[in-house]
């Protein structure tokens, strides 16, 4: 459906056409939102791969982006709900604090990098380094993820319905990784772990929040840290 017809239908949404207004005007308007503002629905037209769309939003508004975005869409998001009706460039949802971001298409590298909270859903595939240095964010990828994903992942959950590339979870700390398909290889100090009832429950909750249906938690394998590299030991030097 053409973007404009949806915008016209939804008369309550504040529409920002990036063909007409600048990125600066969009982000400033979002940052000017006062707590409790009734401008809770936003629509961004013609992003055409713009970088830094809807970054640093700290109010619980919903933002529909009609098209694909460049780098860092929703960066440092704090409480807003962003839906990208297209694909996302590198670093989508980087350092997200809370709220949620849904990518209807694919995501490039570093999706959800260093995220501290909130939920990032990628309905297509994610590229390399998905969830790198994640610090509490939950990430659900409907498709596959690339190599070096969850590198140095500290906390949070990464759920992958498809496959994972090489070196998954290299140097991982306390993040939990759930992969339904095959894993090309595990990184240093990352091991397969038992899927216990509490993990099944956690997974079901994440799948529900991400709108995934027809997939059972028991179909996943869990991966996490072997914790052998937490304190430096010269006998582990070959692991690096």
């Amino acid at each position: 459906m053409p973007a404009t017809s949806k915008a016209m239908r939804d008369s309550h949404a504040r529409v920002f056409d990036l063909d007409v207004l600048s990125l600066r005007e969009l982000n400033q308007a979002l940052h000017n939102l006062a707590p409790g503002s009734n401008e809770t629905a936003w629509e961004v037209l013609n992003p055409k791969g713009s970088h830094s769309v809807a970054v640093g939003v700290d109010q619980p508004v919903s933002i529909d982006v009609r098209g694909s975005v460049g780098y860092y869409c929703g960066g440092m998001n704090s409480g807003s709900t962003i839906t990208v009706h297209g694909s996302a460039g590198p670093g989508v949802g980087e350092n997200m604090m809370s709220g949620s971001i849904v990518i209807k298409g694919d995501a490039s590298q570093y999706a959800g990098a260093t995220g501290k909270g909130g939920l990032l859903v990628i309905e297509g595939n994610a590229s390399s380094r998905c969830g790198i240095s994640m610090k509490g964010i939950d990430i659900v990828v409907h498709g596959n993820i690339g190599h070096m994903s969850a590198f140095m992942a500290q906390s949070g959950n990464l759920v992958v319905l498809g496959d994972a590339g090489d070196a998954l979870g290299d140097s991982i700390y306390e993040a939990r990784l759930f992969v339904r398909g095959k894993v090309d290889s595990l990184g240093a100090d990352c091991i397969a772990k038992e899927l216990r009832p509490e993990h099944l429950e956690l997974l079901q909750g994440l799948l529900d929040r991400a709108g995934v249906t027809g997939v059972k938690p028991s179909e996943f394998k869990r991966y996490g840290s072997a914790r052998t590299l937490y304190n430096f030991n010269i006998d582990n030097a070959d692991a690096y």
């Binding site: 704090s78 980087e94 604090m97 500290q154 430096f232």
Partner: protein
């Protein structure tokens, strides 16, 4: 009486000196490299190798106690709506909470604020101690992103994207388990007591083109209000400065190899990177070649100790300097009053550099609740302010003698070098000659 051949004096090797031998024995016994804090300790060409000429018949001086010599500097006017205005061109470098105790961070904030200058966070996030006591606080944006959050980003006065540091260009942070208290662990979202080896690369950008997009994001998040600094270790100062400017930096920070660290490998500190003196002219040249000198400000750090160092750095084209190690000494680091305790740790005051072990008798590089009580933030902050005042007065004394009504009017033509090496690095003549190695056809 029997004749004895005259003995030769026992002779130690210059190559295998006592320190080298001890390090070989230590490595053989432990199987692990030596980790320590601080910067390069080896003898390097430095500001001591430069002299000011002062006034003469062709240049006349300003009256020391009567005529004004401006020390203020504005950082970040290129793009930021709210640039940093400092009363003195000496800032406090980034040092992490975690590496330093809470009271030490508070003292740095107090001292900087009393002096009208800025202080900087580090690889551990922003604490209330330093935000509360720092009128102007620079928030570091590091590869680890420990503690990075939107609220702190917005309440910072400037943002410093850290690409590297002089003690270890190409190395990430290191904080060993002894210093990972509950509070430090919580701020960094990591388990207590583990050895933290921070990433050396940023997780979501690589290269100068990405950096430009990353800086745009930080500006958009903060509504183009805050100056964005880019800090690099003294590796390739010409190209790093040019690329930082191209990526949109308001301020470039170049940290030479004498710049300190909380902890890293000794071999890294002593063998990677360039001396501070060698970094300045290439960085200034890059700015001049781009027509950006004085438009993008240059901060240099690594081994700044007194007002003469400040004046020499400024004369070479720097806009401000930054101090870390010297600031810690002003707070009380390595103070001889704790000599007995330094001895118990197998060292002596002035040489103590095992900052990663968290046993600092001076209570600065520790998370031990008892030891950190030894730092009175108010008194230590006052000492830092006194020290900054002295450095500023010293720099003004030199500038007036050179006939300058602002520290920033000092110029390379006010300097000569004592050694060929320093002359080449600083691009000023060897004393008594008009020879600048590498120039004038030589």
């Amino acid at each position: 009486m029997t004749y004895r051949n005259p003995p030769t004096t026992p002779r130690k090797s210059a190559t295998f000196d006592d320190y080298t031998l001890s390090e070989i024995r230590r490595a053989a016994a432990t199987g692990i490299y030596d980790i320590r804090g601080a910067g390069a300790k080896r003898k390097l060409p430095h500001f001591d190798d430069l002299l000011f000429l002062g006034a003469s018949i062709s240049r006349y001086p300003l009256e020391g106690y009567r005529e004004r010599c401006d020390t203020s500097v504005v950082l970040g006017s290129r793009h930021a709506k709210k640039p940093i205005e400092l009363k003195i061109p000496i800032t406090i470098a980034g040092m992490s909470f975690g590496s330093l105790s809470g009271p030490a961070k508070e003292a740095l904030g107090r001292g900087a604020t009393l002096s009208g200058t800025s202080t900087t966070t580090g690889d551990g996030g922003m604490t209330e101690e330093e935000r509360g006591h720092s009128k102007q606080l620079v928030y570091q944006y590091l590869p680890s992103r420990y503690g990075m959050n939107l609220r702190d980003l917005r309440r910072a006065d400037a943002i410093e994207v850290v690409v590297g540091q002089g003690a270890k260009p190409g190395g990430g942070g290191m904080l060993l388990g002894q210093k990972i208290s509950d509070r430090v662990a919580e701020m960094r979202t990591l388990p207590k007591g583990i050895d933290q080896r921070s990433a050396s690369r940023h997780p979501d950008w690589t290269g100068p083109d990405d950096l430009e997009i990353k800086i745009l994001e930080l500006r958009e998040i903060t509504d183009w209000e805050k100056p964005i600094y880019v800090k690099v270790g003294g590796a390739r100062p010409y190209y790093d400065t040019a690329l930082a400017v191209k990526a949109g930096a308001d301020v470039v920070v170049v940290d030479g190899m004498q710049g300190g660290t909380a902890a890293t490998q000794e071999v890294f500190i002593e063998n990677v990177g360039q001396p501070t003196l060698a970094c300045i002219r290439p960085a200034v040249q890059a700015l001049q070649d781009l027509g950006m000198h004085r438009k993008v400000q240059l901060i240099v750090s690594g081994g700044i100790r007194n007002g003469a160092d400040v004046a020499k750095a400024l004369a070479l084209g720097v806009d401000a300097v930054s101090i870390g190690t010297a600031a810690l000494v002003a707070l009380g680091d390595n103070d001889p009053r704790w000599e007995a305790e330094y001895n118990e740790l197998g060292t002596t005051s002035g040489a103590y550099d095992d900052w990663h072990e968290g046993k600092d008798p001076a209570g600065i590089t520790t998370q031990d609740p008892e030891l950190m009580k030894r730092v009175d933030p108010v008194a230590a902050g006052r000492r830092l302010a006194n020290y900054l005042k002295v450095m500023t007065l010293e720099a003004q004394t030199i500038a007036r003698a050179c006939g300058k009504n602002s520290l920033h009017n000092l110029e390379p033509e006010d300097l000569v070098a004592l050694t060929i090496e320093a002359a080449a690095m600083a691009g000023v003549p060897l004393a008594g000659t008009n020879w600048i190695p590498g120039k004038n056809g030589f």
